[in-house]
Point group: D2
Chain length 376, copies 4
């Protein structure tokens, strides 16, 4: 566990959402060390972001090209790079690092055009370096469980695949109100010809394939733009036929009020079904035909993918984040104390601890007296 | 963000569950650096665990006493220590570090006896260092939200507080089957007079107080041991009266089959209620009397605690762990490649990326042809 | 099926809620015919209610005493009577009919005082007639299923029984605002010494006993009145010890905002658990220890109580009411037509039917042309 | 309320499911009296079924034609007829009664062919009698609520309509195993060209139109038969375009294990959404964009359709069936007593009532003694 892989990052500067997610993900198991970055397409912002992350200024680059070239020459240069830019930068950036033999971990979708995608495949095949795409939903423990169950024949030959990924955040024309996340995602130059279909439809399609092992054969798609003036689709209806005979539907939308990130997969085979929802990800329904439904839980009875699951069943994975909040606030408090300040805080204190032990003591005392009332 | 606090750890060696959780929590926001440890009560195991974590051998101690003494003398000695041992060690360990002016982050319950708890309060008050207790459920975003809403009067003066924390893992006498986690928790010498009440009842009690701001006044408790031969309680029934007139019930159990970590809090006031369940932690029900129930979500509409929530609404907090699984597996693959191996893996590849772009392309082509079937 | 039992009713006049429910229940399976009534304690209201229900005026009585006496002498007098009055009338009314050998179907709780209850037991034992108490929750199919499973040993010897029945309708002092339902329920003269505990706490207690087969041994209760000026309890906290060693808690409340009729039972034994909620009554969780949870459904796989379940699984029992709404509205329309009127309505028409067949036809046409778009 | 409409029935003999449902629905509100029938296409079975239902033998007909003709001549002949046969009989039967001026209440789909449907429309238009189609899901209270909210503009102009109705009962070839329900539904001669699409797809399509008020414009459908040897479709994928610009998807299936009758409708407009599921029918989600989701309940706050809802909020509509089970079992017991038998039963008795009053009494006694333990 002790060696950490030297990691660089392209994109992911101050304002970006997904860059911070990649950094947390890299840090969670302590397997990576972020040592270099070209964190923004604007050099000034790139440098400011590097400083905020504590990068060595000499390794905070203005462009990914400069970074790829120089890091390849350093003895302790980066071994891998995370590419977290808008879609149209994926290909040139990945290409630059693959050429230098640096492993690439790249956000999805692969590229903004099919042409770029094919070129990137060629580049990856030519390079000795690894290429990993972060279709992150494939990393959920219950998705691994579902995939393993399908492969083991738990539901028989697959017939029907229903997958959907509705959101609501683009119900109104946010791209005209200065929201950067909305701007590039609705700009065909940066996101590609697909809007909603590229941003989240690909996640849904990938997930269905990952779990079922099926390849798509053909499809009929009805893309539509509901918000006036929007330049890409914001609602996606697709009928799918898979190789081998399965049929499916895919719905993704960014204009469905009340849906935050409601990715949901349902797969039905000749002898049973599986159902999973990303918003409640620690659970997987297994519905063997003719028997009661069963609810599988991460690390619970019947779970076979322990390597993907860090904590016991019943602790949702947010457990770690809740814990981390206390550590982060304790860090704030420690730093404040160092600076001679004593801010208000919500952390449990030694008095809270005393109250807890008093509670235990009172319970034991009361119970020993046949549940008499005792003071706390 | 760039400075990291130097952290030590007492307990949390190889076999322990909660030590790894504390380390992940400390790492998640990159605010701490683990640099020293006394990771087990057995010196050999302590050293082996230190090595596994990549600690400098000179700072991997046999005892917490040695660690406290020496680290206090180092120029770059630890600033804070996480204590994650069985309960009976909390007091002596905390005391050792507080005396040296080192901040303490300590697992709950505070101590195994009321006497120790009072001594620890005195030690904390005498020391200049901070003392933080990890009642980790208080760190969940929706719990912070609930507390803020109660304080803002969203449900009026509180009348009824129902809190429960059932588990099922001690339904059978696991402590006689060699499970270390079960052994110390059911040993009054190490856990204190309370079994279930100390281990999880305190979490429930603390959470109720954290959200409501109420102090307990008196209680009537019916502790019971259902599993034959068990030395501490495994089921806890308590009726509570709070200062100011509210009434409550608390149930915790470790023998309730089907309950993993089903901590659940329901609070009812004169004008409304709040309901939260740890196993579905990203949601909070608000039930204003005479209006439809409302479901609040982390980072969704009406959420006021952004500092505690790292990702957008609808991404359960397990999102980060799913992402981290990909990074961890990519690290495995990178290391394997370094070693000249090419293991099987489940990571999305450039071919998956191509398939995704082909999917987008096919959707756009089909849609442009009025949803005609097109090949993938 | 063809013979219908001649039924009378005491109470249940125009304003009453539960009388109408009893009449629907009696009619649902076409086993009863309502032929007589003493429908209100006020003679005028009694007669008006009888007329509204289409009773023969000669058999619409001013008092239950008159009704009992006369009906017993008629050749085709009532065979059974439903008593649906406030609690304090249960005993004298039941006594009057039992004495005459008329079967009694009586609402719960049995009486308003323990004294009356004992006298009623004596009267029932002396009479040759049957006495049935409508603890109606015992009639739910999944409750019958749960009882049968407990009896069959599906969860082993029972350890813990958690039952609760919170409501919110008395969060404010409705009894001072002229609501009749609230008035008599909060008047100790009519409801008895218990308020919430008598009205719904008894349902919870009865249900726990029905499913588990356990008898209570002793209890410790904390009844409380939160709403100022209320004369009976509105929140009930009870710890229970059952004969044979099981322990339990019971919570009932009428001041818990957001709870409509949230009766819920959870039972845990040595080898598994069962969980049921009245607001989602067609489902029963079975949690065998060490296996995934299973969701049993009414008439679904594993269900063994078909005599209690009229419709297929997946049709909630509200299915019948939805159907009945169409029949009721069709009756309105038929009567309106008879009166020469043509009111607006929401019933599906022959045009809707045509649209449906056109939909089928279009689906078939489109599918035969490889899912080409076709007009509807 | 006192006048009851004279009703006849075509189909619905002993083995049929839906006939019994229609009879219960007709009886629930006491608005109809069943007085005539042609209950089966087999004369013997028709007569046996009539006897079982207690029909006057003179009004239990061998054919619907005879029934239509004779009833029309009786002074107290039927005013309305319920047609609950397989689909191919709907047209000739309806036609026969409409011609005689008898109101028709007919099961869906309207007919088995488009041709018949058009002829039936003509017949209905020519007749003075009413024609009502039992698309029964339109009768659910929360569906009426949803329709009213859409009409009131609660979610703005509609954009996306997702409707689905999956079942699992035809996952295996039951029609070859002698199940009558499966036989006629998979026989194109009796059910029409559509299998799943006619049986339940029409329900889904009708429901979407009922709630949204939208008319379909065109559709692209992919019908498929998964079970070998089946003569009609058993899975239905449809993309829909509605007049006015909304888009939709419809999925119905009879081969989706784990789905009983999982009819579900989701509608999204410019300012909000509505979501309803038939298996949990007493609830309706309203998701105004940019605000927390709200859960509306039948007869709860904000509900505006009281005429469709017989019981208070929180009592699922199955409440009436649970109640009716007690009445039915009491009827059994009364009849058994008449016959001199004393069978076992599960009905609450006077002893249960005494136990309940003892419970209340014990609670009051304990509470008055500060929650001391008291014996039951």
């Amino acid at each position: 566990m002790s060696r950490r892989i030297r990691l660089g990052m392209v994109g992911g500067g101050n304002e970006a959402f997904i860059g911070a997610v990649h950094r947390i993900a890299a840090r969670l198991d302590d397997r990576y060390e972020l040592v270099a970055g070209a964190l923004s397409s604007t050099p000034e912002r790139a440098r400011a972001s590097g400083e905020a992350l504590g990068l060595d200024p000499a390794r905070s680059y203005d462009t990914f090209a400069a970074m790829a070239q120089r890091e390849a020459q350093l003895e302790d240069g980066i071994e891998a790079v995370a590419i977290v830019t808008p879609n149209h930068v994926h290909y040139p950036a990945a290409q630059a690092f693959l050429t230098q033999g640096i492993h690439v971990i790249c956000d999805k979708p692969l590229t903004s055009t099919l042409d770029d995608a094919k070129k990137l495949v060629a580049a990856a095949e030519k390079s000795d370096a690894l290429f990993v795409l972060t279709h992150n939903y494939t990393g959920y423990p219950m998705i691994r469980q579902a995939r393993a169950m399908v492969a083991d024949g738990a539901i028989g030959k697959i017939r029907v695949v229903q997958v959907e990924y509705p959101q609501d955040w683009l119900t109104t024309p946010l791209e005209h109100e200065g929201l950067k996340q909305a701007e590039w995602r609705t700009d065909p130059e940066r996101s590609g010809a697909g809007g909603c279909v590229g941003d989240i439809g690909t996640h849904a399609y990938n997930l269905a394939g990952f779990v079922t092992g099926l390849k798509g054969e053909c499809l009929a798609a009805d893309l539509h733009t509901f918000v006036e003036g929007r330049r890409v689709d914001d609602n996606v209806h697709v009928m799918l036929r898979y190789k081998g005979g399965a049929r499916g539907m895919l719905w993704s939308s960014q204009v469905a009020p009340g849906n935050e990130n409601a990715l949901r997969l349902r797969v039905y085979g000749e002898t049973g079904g599986l159902e999973w929802a990303q918003e409640d990800p620690n659970y997987l329904w297994h519905t063997p035909h003719g028997e009661p439904k069963r609810l599988l839980t991460r690390n619970g009875a019947g779970f076979t993918q322990p390597s993907t699951a860090r904590i016991p069943p019943g602790h949702p994975e947010g457990y770690l984040e809740g814990f981390a909040n206390l550590y982060a606030e304790a860090a704030d408090l420690i730093e404040a104390k160092r600076a001679g300040q004593t801010p208000d805080h919500l952390l449990p204190t030694v008095q809270d601890g005393l109250a807890g032990v008093q509670f235990i003591d009172a319970c034991v005392r009361s119970s020993r007296r046949n549940a008499a009332w005792v003071d706390l």
